[in-house]
Amino acid sequence: MTIAAAFAPFVGLAVADSGLPECDLMAAPQTIDELEQILDLASEHQLKAVIWGGGTHQGIGGRIDPDLVIATSQLNRLIDWQPEDFTVTVEAGMRVSDLEEMLADRGQMAVLPELPGAATIGGVMAAGISGWRRARYGPTRDRVLEVDLVTGDGRRVRAGGRVVKNVTGFDLPRLAVGSYGSLGVIAQACLKLWPEPSTKVTVSVADGDRALATAYRPTAVVEADGVAKVYLGGTEAEVDGQVESLDGTVVPGWFWTPAPTGAVGWSLRVPPALIRSAIERLPSGWRYQAGLGVGEIKAASVDADGAAELRAWAESRGGALVIVSGPVGLYSDMDPWGTPPPGLDIQRELIRRFDPCRVVNPGRLPGGI
């Protein structure tokens, strides 16, 4: 049987998805069972597979010329929602926006990235992306209670549990966050939910640093190209009290600004106390959005001029400058991640035990692993 024939049963609606990279083999599993079979086949044939969620973060990490694209768009079912328990279990291909919309009906939120576009739960987890509200609610990794992975060689593995507190075994759910599928494709996850605050406001202020120091545990403080917005949530009295001390323009609700776009997209990560210094070091012409108190900056530029110096500085302070998107040539001029982190041997040993034929997103992680 040819490879194409072997994959034929799984080639489906994926092809209709826009934005998928061109590839001879495309598969869109409808069930996790099918995903297992696909990965088993891919391992058998030593294929390189790219996993496609919403395609919003495909620009991060090493480039891959795939033999196979696996779209998760059909794995988008709600498995279990326990509103009184504040947990929800969904398949990985569900869109973040669909999930949050559903949860909002019952006054709940998963606190994933605020303007997710087409991003899926699995994609956000695999890329380890968090929203700005991490300032108050913690990063995405703090949301993941249980995960079902399908390993590179097609074994379904579950870890964690559908309870909000759990130390039964090693914390694979958190390890899966930011793993880029290297331990397996994230097929399903249970997330911890938060109640939506009864009152939410966005306050525009002149001085973000001062606002951060004044506000008591704000939901987020985001500065974009010199203008800062403070996001507050809580009871009406609490929010009103906080607003008074801030001295800014108030609008009800949370209004998020899209991240800046440009030929090159960046993620600059520094210890929170260095964020002002980091903003000042951005090469001229770079536009940015900075999470004050968090240490994350999303930036965009026309080219990579000045990036090497900025990266060297960030790395010397324990941070990183990561390419999020850019022309293909950039990835050969500049490592998409920068200096690989310590513990690379352990990472390699881990991956070879979960994806022995190195099928899923090979070479995408720092160090080209």
Binding site: S43, P83, E84, D85, F86, G107, S130, R134, P139, R141, D142, D153, G154, V157, A159, G161, V163, K165, N166, V167, T168, G169, F170, D171, L172, R174, L175, G178, S179, S182, P195, S198, Y216, R217, G234, T235, A237, E238, G241, Q242, R269, P271, P272, A273, V294, G295, E296, G319, A320, P340, P341, P342, G343, I346, E349, L350, R352, R353, P356, I369
Partner: protein, 509 residues
């Protein structure tokens, strides 16, 4: 006081221990009683640490053979390193001598995590107590030997604290907290230890010192830090941790509510959460426990109530006001029989002293106790509590309950006398049933105390062969020889050679 003596482990562990030692590369069979082997190891360790920080007297070795749980193991020798470099040298020496290594903090763990399952070198981290505070980043680098409460005391005047607050916080170490991903009453709103760890420095099974994670958000590469947290000493020895500091609340209110039934107390706790309020803490105690505590510390708990709820709301003063009202309202809807708000800090401290003395108070009832730790979805609390009481009754054991109701984390405690023949077996049987009931309700085996030895053999109740194999693979990637804390957490035979495709040997990637 001379420590209590127990036989190690759960019933039926003997055969599985033997089975697993066969696949370990550690030649356990070679007895440590051979004087030569022992003396050269001790000699090497003394060379690294000097004579005073290598403890080899029988009494010393005995004292380090157990933790706060039931198991006792054999200690070859105890070492007290003071730097990561010394830990590294110790690991290399132990490895050379094919000796397993068990890391140890204060030994307050309740799952047998620090009790060696096979004769081991015990590395006590209690001498590593450095603290470097960085208020600008709201973080601190802390040595593994730092006592949990000491960090919060040190940062209090600056307006910060370390959020995880296990009841044992005046004794347990941050290294132990990180290794167990410990929780505490205030983890309901703030998350358990893992949410407060930005980086860990570990000594690997090769003796290498590796820093995982860092001060900036989202460190690149696989997030190994996250999996070292909660790894119970199986993946590496933690020599330093970068933790987050949490701002002290501007205001706090502690409410004590009494109820005529456990159902009402639980319904109140779950009702508060379901209304969209996440209090700082929601703790429940049953009547047996309240009476024991009252008698012990006189916290002012109503002893006529079938159950009490200790609820704390904290944060911005306006929020505290509104949330306290909601707590009262939900309590009223659920037939509260008495309700009191702590008038001042003294009264508040007294209430918390009562809560945190619960386990100590049990000493009045019986010489020994077995403290369980399971989790169920919050919606299953009432039904599960009923079943647990039935189990206690059926086995005729004295059970008391105090638990983190807000996150469904149960702590059934059985007071008993281990010197009475057969008692421990009855207790174990009852507790295993409790674990089964919680898992049937969709819960987990442990919410904060860990698996260690105590619950190792119950893991297959929750996880499939493939799940356990994945856990074993993870362990193998860090420590292929099983040098660190062997035979803990994962039951014998977890690693299945015939699952999946073969792992390529040699160079890869």
């Amino acid at each position: 006081m001379w420590p209590r003596s127990y036989r190690a482990g759960l019933p039926n562990t003997r055969s599985s221990l033997d089975e697993e030692s066969a696949c370990l590369c550690i030649p356990e069979a070679r007895a440590w009683h051979e004087p030569d082997r022992l003396m050269t190891l001790i000699g090497d360790l003394r060379e690294i640490l000097g004579p005073d920080r290598v403890l080899s007297e029988p009494l010393e070795r005995y004292l380090y053979g157990t933790d706060g749980g039931m198991a006792r193991g054999e200690v070859i020798v105890v070492v007290l390193p003071e730097t990561a470099g010394e830990v590294s040298d110790v690991v290399k020496a132990a490895k050379r001598h094919a000796s397993p290594i068990v890391a140890r903090g204060a030994g307050t763990g309740l799952a047998g995590g620090a009790a060696p399952a096979v004769p081991s070198v015990v590395v006590s981290l209690t001498n590593m107590k450095t603290i470097e505070i960085d208020l600008g980043n709201r973080t601190a680098w802390v040595g593994p030997g730092v006592i949990n409460l000491d960090l919060s005391k040190l940062t209090r005047s600056s307006g910060f604290h370390f959020a995880p607050d296990p009841s044992s916080q005046s004794a347990c170490t941050i290294g132990g907290n990180v290794a167990n991903n410990s929780g505490g009453p205030h983890c309901l709103a703030e998350g358990t230890t893992t949410s407060h760890v930005l980086a860990v420095e570990i000594v690997t099974a090769d003796g290498e010192v590796v820093l995982l994670g860092g001060p900036a958000p989202d460190p690149i590469g696989l997030d190994l830090r996250s999996v070292v947290v909660g790894s119970e000493g199986l993946l590496g020895i933690i020599t330093r941790t970068l933790v987050k500091l949490t701002p002290n609340p501007l205001d706090v209110r502690t409410i004590l509510a009494g109820f005529a039934t456990m159902e009402d107390a639980v319904a109140t706790s779950s009702g508060i959460v379901a209304r969209g309020v996440v209090p700082a803490a929601l703790e429940i105690m049953d009547q047996k426990m309240t009476r024991a505590v009252e008698n012990f510390v006189g916290a002012g708990f109503p002893i006529d109530a079938a159950a009490i709820l200790l609820a704390e709301v904290a944060g911005h003063p306006a929020a505290v006001e509104a949330e306290a009202r909601l707590v009262e309202q939900v309590a009223n809807e659920n037939h509260v029989t008495s309700l009191r708000v702590a008038a001042d800090e003294v009264e508040r401290a007294k209430l918390w002293l009562g809560r945190k003395s619960a386990f100590g108070a049990v000493a009045q009832l019986a010489p020994d106790y077995y403290l369980h730790d399971t989790v169920v979805p919050r919606t299953q609390l009432v039904a599960t509590m009923q079943k647990i009481y039935e189990i206690a009754e059926r086995h005729g054991v004295l059970m008391l309950n105090v638990f983190h109701a807000g996150d469904g984390n149960l702590h059934p405690l059985v007071a008993f006398d281990a010197s009475v023949e057969g008692q421990l077996d009855i207790v174990h049987a009852a507790m295993e049933e409790v674990a089964r009931v919680c898992i049937e309700a969709g819960g987990a085996l442990s919410g904060e105390h860990g698996i260690g030895l105590e619950k190792r053999d119950l893991m297959p109740l929750l996880y499939s062969e493939a799940d356990l194999d994945a856990q074993a693979r993870l362990r193998e990637a860090f420590d292929p020889d099983g040098l660190f804390n062997p035979q803990k957490v994962l039951p014998a035979g977890s690693r299945c050679a015939d699952l999946g495709r073969p792992i390529p040997a040699g160079a890869w990637l």
